[in-house]
Amino acid sequence: MDAAFCTAWLEEAAGAVAEGRERLTALDSAIGDGDHGANLDRGFSEVRQALAAGGAGQPLTVAGVTLIRKVGGASGPLYGSALRAMGKALAEEFTVADFAAAFQAGVDEVARLGKAEEGDKTMLDALGPAARALALAVGEGAGAREAFERAARAAREGAAATVPMVARKGRASYLGERSAGHEDPGAASSAMILDALAAVGARW
């Protein structure tokens, strides 16, 4: 795999986020401030433009820097730093195993910056399981297609598992017990982005 794969993933993710925008807004309205859909959609549109402008550098790094620079909010620097860390961890050509390791590096960056851990009802609850599923699949010798699919499934399940949680990080934490009963918007967007990965993996 190479830069083209990363670009395809980012394009697919941009489409998924645009399509899922209203849902993310609704989730963030329930337990946050209602801007997660707009934030990510704005960010990924900028990513598309940045990629189309054809600048130098790993697409994931370009995307990461773009999200950091253009989105704001919590999700901008978190997703941005994750993608940038991933991009930096990847050589020009890479294997699924390399990708899985880079992905883990990205997830670690989210945890570090956000001072969060799994169970806090954040994007980490989708990203963490996805990273582990990816590593496990690679360890079991799965190809890209299967590995990405298993990661996406883990992210979806992880996002769903945030519903009963009481938030301890991010805006939702301000609601205390009332945050329970709603899916975390960041976890939901993570699942969308992993679904995009699986979709691109399936046709690669």
């Binding site: 801007d35 934030n39 950091i68 989105v71 704001g72 901008g76």
Partner: protein, 326 residues
């Protein structure tokens, strides 16, 4: 939803055009609002910022005796590091720059990234976290920054204007925050231009207790009884966290859609509450200062004054949103 806007995506830019046109003392460049007079040599620079929708906070507090620059993000979305870096570099008068940051994940992340990436200027940061509706614990994101931001900006701004060095200005800012507590109550949800409908539904006989300033729901709902009861709920929360005594600066702040006459009704109740506790309101502010778009409701912020903070509060200030002494 009916709003006086041209397009949901263009609100912030259009409003900044309006601010620049209305206030010759301000300069707007790349979504950063500066004093038109430029950086003051030898003075600590003050930069704040955060999501838009809280006007006059922050851009309305740029000017003599308060901020040197404000970085407005999109509606309820923290600004991006580029804005903060540009602002920090532009306002540095050689004495360093204080970042005044409300405690939200997004704000702290973006300001941290900016501070890391700023070259040239020495940067100190103060986190504002005054909202007692949120539990302050190692295992949460900590209390939110709300109304006390205005106090911190005013007091640190006065200190900076007097030529106080960066570490001292940062100490004053932290002290103003440490001595302040807030609690907010919503009668209605706000409506963000992007969503086009209220963030939460609130029945016509209920109020939402412990709301922040981003339209997020609060901790619980109770029936709306009246101004006196709501003032008491808010003041009980504040007093329960930091008992009232001595001389207090009290702000009764509107959420954006509440008319002034109602805020005065609330202030009368708050002042009576303070007196009943044996404390005194020696300074006050009543109006829409730290808002949530068109939300109806109010917040109370109390700051325990000492001689230094009183002096800094009274010092001259000349900004679009707060002005006295010149």
């Amino acid at each position: 939803m009916k709003k006086l806007i041209n397009s949901p995506g263009g609100v912030v830019g259009d409003a900044l055009r309006g601010m620049a046109a209305a206030h010759p003392s301000l300069l707007v460049r790349d979504q950063v609002v500066y004093r038109a007079s430029g950086p003051v040599a030898g003075k600590v620079g003050l930069v704040s910022g955060g999501g838009s929708g809280h006007e006059p906070l922050h851009a309305g507090f740029v000017g003599y005796g308060m901020l040197d620059a404000a970085c407005p993000g999109e509606i309820f979305t923290s600004p991006v590091p580029d804005q903060i870096i540009a602002a920090t570099q532009a306002v540095d008068g050689g004495a360093g720059v204080l970042h005044i940051v409300k405690n939200y994940t997004g704000d702290t992340l973006n300001f941290e990234l900016a501070a890391d990436l700023t070259e040239g200027a020495e940067v100190a940061t103060v986190l504002v976290d005054d909202d007692v509706a949120v539990q302050d614990s190692l295992y949460t994101a900590g209390r939110r920054g709300t109304g006390a931001t205005l106090f911190v900006e005013k007091m640190a701004g006065a200190a900076a204007e007097q030529g106080t060095p960066l570490t001292e200005v940062a100490r004053v800012a932290a002290e103003a925050d440490r001595r302040s507590r807030s609690f907010g109550i919503a009668l209605t949800s706000c409506t963000t231009p992007a969503a086009g409908k209220p963030t939460f539904d609130l029945p016509d006989d209920q109020v939402e207790l412990g709301v922040g300033i981003h339209g997020e729901p609060g901790r619980r709902r109770v029936p709306h009884t009246g101004a006196r009861e709501l003032a008491e709920v808010a003041m009980d929360a504040v007093h329960g966290d930091l008992p009232l005594y001595g001389d207090l600066l009290v702000m009764v702040n509107g959420m954006g859609g509440t008319p002034l006459i109602e805020l005065y009704v609330v202030f009368a109740e708050v002042e009576a509450y303070v007196r009943a506790k044996g404390a005194r309101v020696t300074r006050s502010l009543v109006g829409n200062y730290v808002t949530s778009l068109d939300m109806q409701g109010f917040s109370v912020t109390v700051c325990h004054l000492d001689d230094e903070l009183t002096r800094l509060w009274d010092a001259p200030v000349e900004t679009p949103g707060l002005r006295w002494g010149r």
